[in-house]
C-alpha cells in the first residue's frame, strides 16, 4: 500500500521560475493492482509518479510505502527503496546505448555486487519470458520500439521489484504493441505486483485490467475511478 498525505511539490522554490507541480494531494494506491494517472500535459502526473517512486521528495506532506514513511528519508535510503521496491519504465525507455540488451537489463543489480553467473541467468530468464531471449546480445539501439519497451520492463524487474512504475509507456507504440504491453502488465499484476502508470492514452485507462484511474488537473486530483 502506498499512501500520500497533503503532498505538494514546488520546483525552483523562491525563484522567478517557481512552478507548483502538485497541490495538496491525498491518495492511497492499492497493492497488487494497476493504477493509472491520467490528465493533460502539465497536470502533475509525472511529478506524482516521481514522488511515489522515491525519485523526488515532496516539498510538503508525507509519503508512506507499506506503512514506512519514505518522504523524510535521506538520499541513500531512497536509493535503497528505488533499488529494491521499485522498477522503472521511462517514457523514452532510457536504455544505455552502446550496451547490449542483456547488459542493460543487468544494470540495476550491478551496485549490489551479485554473483555474476546467477544475475546473468536471471536476466536471460526475464528476457525469455518477455520474448527477447534471442536478442540478449544485440545492442539496444537496434531494437524495434516494442522490443525496446520490453527490454526496459525486463530491466525494471531484474531486482524483483514489487512495484512497477511506468511513465507514458505506450506513447510511442502502435495499437498492437499497446495490447501486448497491457497483457504483460496484467501478467505482472497476476504475479502479485503493483503497477502504477501515467498515461493520456485512452487505450490504457479504458483497458479492463486497469483497477484504478486517478485523473489530474493543474497539480490536483480532479477525479478517481475504480
Amino acid at each position: 500500500m502506498i499512501s500520500l498525505q497533503s503532498v505538494s511539490k514546488l520546483y525552483n522554490e523562491g525563484r522567478p521560475n517557481e512552478v507548483q507541480a502538485l497541490r495538496d494531494i491525498d491518495l492511497e494506491i492499492a497493492p497488487r493492482a494497476v493504477t493509472v494517472f491520467k490528465g493533460p500535459s502539465g497536470s502533475g502526473k509525472t511529478t506524482l509518479l516521481s514522488i511515489v517512486g522515491c525519485m523526488a521528495r515532496p516539498s510538503t506532506g508525507r509519503v508512506f510505502v507499506d506503512g514506512q514513511m519514505v518522504s523524510g528519508l535521506p538520499e541513500k535510503f531512497l536509493t535503497e527503496q528505488r533499488r529494491t521496491t521499485f522498477g522503472f519504465v521511462f517514457q523514452r525507455f532510457n536504455l544505455i546505448r552502446g550496451l547490449s540488451v542483456l547488459e542493460n537489463v543487468m544494470l540495476p543489480a550491478v551496485p549490489l555486487g551479485p554473483d555474476h553467473a546467477a544475475l546473468r541467468r536471471r536476466a536471460l530468464d526475464r528476457l525469455e519470458q518477455l520474448g527477447l531471449g534471442a536478442k540478449a546480445d544485440m545492442k539496444v539501439e537496434y531494437l524495434s520500439g516494442g522490443e525496446t519497451q520490453r527490454a526496459a520492463i525486463a530491466r525494471a524487474l531484474i531486482n524483483d521489484a514489487r512495484i512497477l512504475i511506468a511513465d507514458e509507456p505506450t506513447a510511442n507504440l502502435d495499437t498492437e504493441l499497446t495490447h501486448r504491453f497491457l497483457e504483460i502488465v496484467a501478467a505482472l499484476r497476476d504475479e502479485g505486483r503493483t503497477v502504477i502508470m501515467t498515461s493520456h492514452d485512452p487505450r490504457i485507462w479504458e483497458a479492463d485490467m486497469v483497477n484504478a484511474v486517478i485523473e489530474m488537473q493543474d497539480g490536483r486530483i480532479s477525479g478517481a475511478f475504480a
Binding site: 509525472t46 511529478t47 509518479l49 516521481s50 525519485m55 523526488a56 538520499e75 541513500k76 536509493t79 528505488r82 533499488r83 529494491t84 521499485f86 522503472f88 521511462f90 517514457q91 532510457n94 544505455i96 546505448r97 552502446g98 550496451l99 547488459e103 544494470l107 540495476p108 543489480a109 550491478v110 551496485p111 549490489l112 555486487g113 551479485p114 554473483d115 555474476h116 530491466r155 525494471a156 531486482n159 511513465d167
Partner: protein, 380 residues
C-alpha cells in the same frame, strides 16, 4: 569472493563495457596520455641513467689531481713535484699522468689522448686502444684498419689499433685514444721528466682538505682538483642536460594540465544523461562515483603503464634514440652505447602521482556534481 570484491568486479565489468562503446575517443585519450607519460618518463629514466654513468666514471677517478699553473693556465708539471706530494702523510701514491687533446682534421673531431695509469691497459709502442667513436668518426671499414694521425699537413704517424673499447663505458671513452708513454711523448713532443698533471691517491677521503692545505704550502703555484670538484662539474654538465629534459617534461606536463582541465570542465550531455538513468534505476551517488573512478583509473593506469614501458624500451632498448643526438653530444663523436637499466622508484612514484592522481581527480569533479543531482531530472 566477498560482496565488496563482487561489487567492484561488477562495476569494473560495466565500466569496461561502457568504455568500449566510445572506443575511438577513449583510445585517443589513452594515446595522448601515454605520449605525455612517455616523454616525462623517458626524461626521468634518461637523467637517472646518465647520472649513474657519471657516478661510475667518478668511482674510478683519483681523490686529488694536481696541476701546474703558469699565467693562470695549466702547464706541464715537473716529475720532481711528485716527491713533494708523496712526502705528505696520508698520501698513498702520486703518479704523473700524460693526456691531451688532439684535433683530427680528417674527421673534424677532438680526441682525448691518454697514457693509461693501469699497466694492463697500456698498449704496446706503435699501437693504440681507441674508443668506439673513433672508428665510426674515421669510417673504418675493416677491423684491423690502422689509425693515421696527422698534426699538420705533411706529417703523418701510423698506429695499429690493438683494441676498441666496448660500449659499456662509452659515455667518456667514446673519443679516447690510449697510447704508450714513448709514443705519446714523441707524438706531442713532450720532453721527459714532465707530465700533464699528477694523480694523487689518499687513504682517508676525510683527510683530503688537510692534505690539500699542506700540498698548497709545498707547491704554491699548483692547482688542486679534488674528486668532489670533478663530481660538481659532472653534476653541472648533467644538470644542464637534465635541464633541457625538464623543459621538455614541463611542456608535456603543461599539456597534461590542459588535458585534465578540459576533462574537469564538464560532462557531455550524454554522460550526464547516463548518470541520471543510473541513479533513477537504483544506483547510489557512491556507485556512480566508484564506476567513474574505475573509468579514470583504467584509462590513467593503462596509459601510465604503456607510457612507462615504452619509455623504458626507448631509453634502455634504443639508447634514448629520440633524445640522444641533442643530449649526449661529444663534439662530432656521439657516444654509441646502451645505458644500463636503472629505475628510480621514487621518480616513478612521483610520475604516477603527478599524472594518474590529478587525472582521476579531474574526472571526479564534474561526476560528483552530476551524481548529486536529483534522479527525477531524468523523468522531466
Amino acid at each position: 569472493m566477498t560482496p565488496f570484491l563482487r561489487r567492484q568486479r561488477a562495476l569494473a565489468d560495466y565500466t569496461l563495457a561502457a568504455l568500449a562503446r566510445r572506443r575511438g575517443k577513449n583510445l585517443a585519450l589513452v594515446v595522448i596520455f601515454s605520449v605525455i607519460v612517455f616523454v616525462v618518463a623517458s626524461a626521468m629514466l634518461f637523467s637517472a641513467a646518465l647520472q649513474r654513468e657519471a657516478d661510475l666514471v667518478l668511482a674510478e677517478a683519483p681523490e686529488l689531481i694536481v696541476q701546474q699553473l703558469v699565467l693562470g693556465r695549466q702547464d706541464l708539471i715537473a716529475e720532481t713535484e711528485i716527491a713533494k706530494l708523496t712526502a705528505i702523510r696520508g698520501v698513498t701514491a702520486a703518479k704523473g699522468r700524460l693526456w691531451g687533446y688532439f684535433y683530427d682534421r680528417i674527421s673534424g673531431a677532438n680526441y682525448t689522448v691518454m697514457v693509461p695509469d693501469d699497466p694492463a691497459m697500456m698498449p704496446e709502442p706503435g699501437t693504440v686502444a681507441v674508443g668506439e667513436g673513433i672508428p665510426r668518426a674515421r669510417g673504418f671499414t675493416f677491423a684491423q684498419a690502422p689509425l693515421f694521425l696527422s698534426r699538420w699537413p705533411g706529417e703523418l704517424q701510423k698506429f695499429a689499433v690493438a683494441r676498441t673499447f666496448d660500449s659499456d663505458s662509452a659515455l667518456v671513452s667514446s673519443d679516447l685514444v690510449l697510447m704508450a708513454e714513448s709514443d705519446f711523448r714523441r707524438f706531442f713532443e713532450v720532453p721527459p721528466g714532465v707530465y700533464t698533471d699528477i694523480a694523487v691517491s689518499i687513504r682517508n677521503p676525510r683527510e683530503i682538505a688537510t692534505i690539500v692545505e699542506k700540498a698548497t704550502r709545498a707547491m704554491p703555484a699548483a692547482r688542486f682538483v679534488t674528486r668532489d670538484d670533478i663530481a660538481r662539474t659532472y653534476q653541472k654538465l648533467f644538470s644542464w642536460r637534465e635541464g633541457l629534459l625538464v623543459a621538455l617534461a614541463g611542456a608535456a606536463i603543461l599539456a597534461f594540465a590542459i588535458f585534465a582541465a578540459e576533462k574537469a570542465s564538464g560532462l557531455s550531455a550524454e554522460e550526464a544523461r547516463e548518470i541520471g538513468v543510473l541513479k533513477a534505476i537504483g544506483w547510489d551517488s557512491s556507485d556512480v562515483i566508484a564506476m567513474k573512478l574505475w573509468e579514470g583509473a583504467l584509462i590513467a593506469i593503462g596509459a601510465f603503464l604503456i607510457g612507462t614501458v615504452a619509455a623504458y624500451l626507448h631509453v634502455f632498448g634504443t639508447g634514448a634514440a629520440l633524445f640522444a643526438p641533442v643530449l649526449k653530444g661529444w663534439s662530432v663523436i656521439y657516444p654509441d652505447f646502451r645505458l644500463a637499466p636503472q629505475i628510480d622508484g621514487m621518480q616513478l612514484t612521483a610520475l604516477f602521482l603527478i599524472t594518474v592522481v590529478p587525472y582521476v581527480a579531474a574526472t571526479l569533479v564534474p561526476i560528483w556534481r552530476a551524481a548529486s543531482a536529483d534522479p527525477d531530472q531524468i523523468m522531466r
